[in-house]
Symmetry: C2
Subunit: 506 residues, 2 copies
């Protein structure tokens, strides 16, 4: 006879089997997306969109069918009664969470949203090209209306924005974000004003000559760095796309893209470091749990902390370049002639600019704070889409002291809203804050980390991240994970201190 525990374990096994099937189907969708961005010929777009939307519909339907025999409900009751082993409990907790969210959105709603955002993305491209916000405004209005409806369907306690935010950063609330961002603003706005008056903003962007940097050499250098960090290229690849990204089909197939500028190799190195950070997380998830929440990233904020840590905390540090600058000089002997110190300082340039993705690590968060404030006000109905260009430019003036020259350079610059990604932006800054907090801890736990990095040893850090973060998947919440590792909840002070120390003394 089976014991009750055995029976639950078997039920979890059956659930895991169903989830795994769904993940293999979702992986297929990810491959189609990857190919679309990287290799698909342009005439293939319509057929691809049909394949993706059909598969997405299938996955949605099949997920909603996961409780057809009451399996998930039964496990949910056992979870409430605390009758599940910890790993099983995490699987059930997260699956119930996703299932309840998905169940609240009727199929017609999901389809309408997909069609609306598909059209809106095309219109957004046109509006940005033509620098014409009026073209995009009616679509954005519809998207905002739909997202308000989505928030109502999902349910919320304080702000409808909470319901949307929770999709990207489970457990986070807009009140908490507001508290954090207010502190951050109070530090950043005067700090940037101060920097503007110093020499830091005037530093040349790079100290390269006008030499050409052959593609093959750049590819080889990027690959060498990615491998040194611990990116397993037998379980991944580096391709080229207009906007660098990371995608994972399974912990054994995690791919990144970067982009190359023949005039400046640094323009590929930092995206490569960033995406490799994401890729290490995805490769470090426990493959034996593939398909279950135990092999999923805990939140977008934590995911972003991994990319930012490698891009900024490591990649824009002096120890890192102690090892890599001589290699860069050897690879491009005519180009990098200045000494290490001058090269390093050129990487630490701070200057308010209108485009988010080109921003330095100090001003970046103000770009995010502006977006958060505006999209929250939109969802709460305090402002409307048509008010955005004016408000956008006002905030840029107020927070960053600059005015975008037009809407293409301003409110139209990001794809997110046209895709219906409202509630996503804050995770970028959460990533920056998490990364600084993790950095503070790892430097205490591995006191000679700087020395190791300066010697080219990046794997010690990678291993620490794997043990502390990657291998846990969604076993803990983001909150608990950070508390377990660093001994405190998210604390933006670590980021402020990092910025203050780095940019005051230099």
């Amino acid at each position: 006879m089976k014991t009750k525990n055995q029976k639950s374990a078997n039920e979890v096994e059956i659930l895991t089997g169903r989830l795994r099937e769904l993940s293999y189907l979702s992986s297929a969708i990810s491959v189609l997306h990857w190919d679309q961005e990287v290799y698909m010929p342009k005439k293939g777009a319509d057929a691809r969109a049909s394949s993706i939307s059909l598969l997405a519909g299938l996955v949605h339907t099949q997920f909603l069918n996961i409780d057809h025999d009451g399996l998930l409900s039964s496990l949910g009751k056992k979870l409430s009664a605390k009758k599940l082993q910890p790993h099983d409990a995490a699987i059930v907790r997260e699956t119930v969470r996703s299932f309840e969210k998905a169940s609240k959105l009727p199929e017609t709603f999901v389809k309408e949203m997909a069609e609306l955002t598909s059209k809106a993305q095309h219109v957004w491209v046109e509006a940005r090209t033509k620098n014409n916000f009026a073209l995009f405004a009616p679509y954005l209005e519809k998207i905002v209306a739909k997202k308000r409806e989505e928030a109502t369907l999902l349910g919320y306690e304080v702000s409808p924005y909470d319901a949307l935010l929770d999709t990207y950063e489970p457990g986070m609330t807009s009140a908490e974000i507001e508290r954090i961002f207010t502190d951050l603003k109070e530090f950043l706005i005067p700090f940037i004003t101060q920097i503007r008056k110093s020499s830091i903003g005037a530093r040349p962007r790079t100290n390269t000559t006008s030499a050409q940097f052959p593609l093959e050499k750049q590819i080889a250098f990027n690959t060498e760095i990615a491998k040194a960090i611990g990116y397993d290229l037998d379980a991944g690849r580096i391709d080229v796309s207009a906007h660098p990204f990371t995608t994972d089909f399974h912990p054994h197939d995690v791919r990144i893209t970067t982009r190359y500028n023949l005039k400046d190799p640094l323009e590929s190195i930092f995206p490569t470091l960033h995406e490799t950070g994401h890729a290490l997380y995805a490769q470090g998830l426990p493959h034996e749990h593939f398909g279950t929440p135990l092999a999923e990233a805990v939140s977008l904020g934590i995911h972003e902390s991994q990319s930012r840590l490698w891009e900024n905390l490591v990649g824009r540090s002096l120890p890192f370049w102690k090892h890599w600058y001589p290699r860069l000089q050897k690879t491009f002997p005519k180009a990098f002639t200045s000494p290490l110190g001058a090269f390093y300082r050129s990487l630490c340039r701070v200057k308010a600019t209108p485009i988010r993705v080109e921003a330095d690590e100090v001003t970046y968060n103000l770009h995010i704070i502006i977006r958060f404030e505006l999209e929250k006000a939109l969802i709460e109905g305090a402002i409307e889409a048509r008010d955005l260009p004016r408000l956008w430019n006002e905030r840029y003036r107020e927070y960053l002291g600059i005015t975008p020259k037009d809407d293409a350079e301003g409110v139209l610059q990001d794809v997110h809203w046209s895709s219906g990604y409202i509630g996503y932006f804050p995770t970028y800054t959460l990533g920056n804050l998490y990364s600084a907090q993790l950095w503070n801890t790892v430097r205490k736990e591995i006191p000679d980390l700087d020395k190791r990095i300066a010697k080219g040893d990046l794997k010690t850090l990678r291993e620490w991240l794997r043990v502390c973060i990657h291998r846990h998947g969604k076993y803990h919440s983001a909150d608990d994970l950070i508390l377990n590792i660093t001994g405190e909840k998210l604390n933006p002070e670590h980021f402020s201190r990092y910025i203050r120390e780095k940019y005051s003394k230099s």
Copy 2:
């Protein structure tokens, strides 16, 4: 009120919608296969196999569900009563045909076959590497047993082989193949013996020097040829894989692969010509009928006729190289120093060799005939898998006058049997025969074709193929299609004459 015809048309529309959905899902599987062969990192293999098999299962189930409301049955009755418009009739005829075949194979059978061939392919790779047929034999035995079972499930009148052949070459029978192949053997075996005594077999393979041929230049040259033929690279791409292949996701996304040898550019040019021939067919299918049999290739034999026509009838002709040889010389000025005539003769080398994919256009068909005779005997139970190495070598001695040095170079060389592709091989030779017959017709219909090709005009021929073959999809049967175009049924005499004329006078 709707007329009966309108009602049928609506039913066909509903059927078309269902078929189209299935095709978009099948396209997703094809993308996964393409990526697997071209870009997938090696550790991704297991997860990929799971995604593919799940999707394949879904497509199979969904196809079997296509008649859940009796739609197809109702249309089938109207087809029998000749109440459908010709295009609708073709859609229904071919869908009923596929549906009846698929319905005869139980799901457990399909799954078992998939698992068996998946394992068998791995074992075959190992057996070939280790030159150990005994490793592979038990798997081949099981595959043959399963294929015999498949033939029984599908049903047949004369030979169980007919049931398998019909999957690849609808309407063809083994008796017909036997008749054709017997004629061909009677011509080829003495003809090759005669050539062996002449100077044709002794010609050097290429007249290149030992120069290196840079990859970028080879890629550019191959791309130029493919474009000149009419391959639309906005709806396609050329990548690299170990075994060149063509895959199509939609007429607007048709991809080929080739392979490059840095020591011999001709080793990529002929595969590129071959695969481009396939690609033109797939791009030429009527995209407005995507999903239905009207946008599917009529048979593998006709598909192969398109690749062989470009590879051999065009690609190994003097007019073609009149235009392209000077370009090849210009691209690789140091390498191709001999005059056009000598270069052309070096392309027309005939020599029996043990490996099928390296065979010239004369000996190639004997490789196929041997495989056909052996696999037919296997399926009919006249021989067993363990007899194959001995029989294989005997036939090679008898038909080609050579003995493979071992099984890796002999019976283990092809992947087909390990994949369960029994009944597939004859379509290669059918392709050669169809291509010569089509060639005979087009040269009559376009009397100045040689001159056009010599001037670099390949699009006249492409257009002729599009109008006569590509745009028809499965509207006609292969038999009727060839009859309509050439005025006669498949007639191997055109191929024999082409070979006799080309290789006797030169």
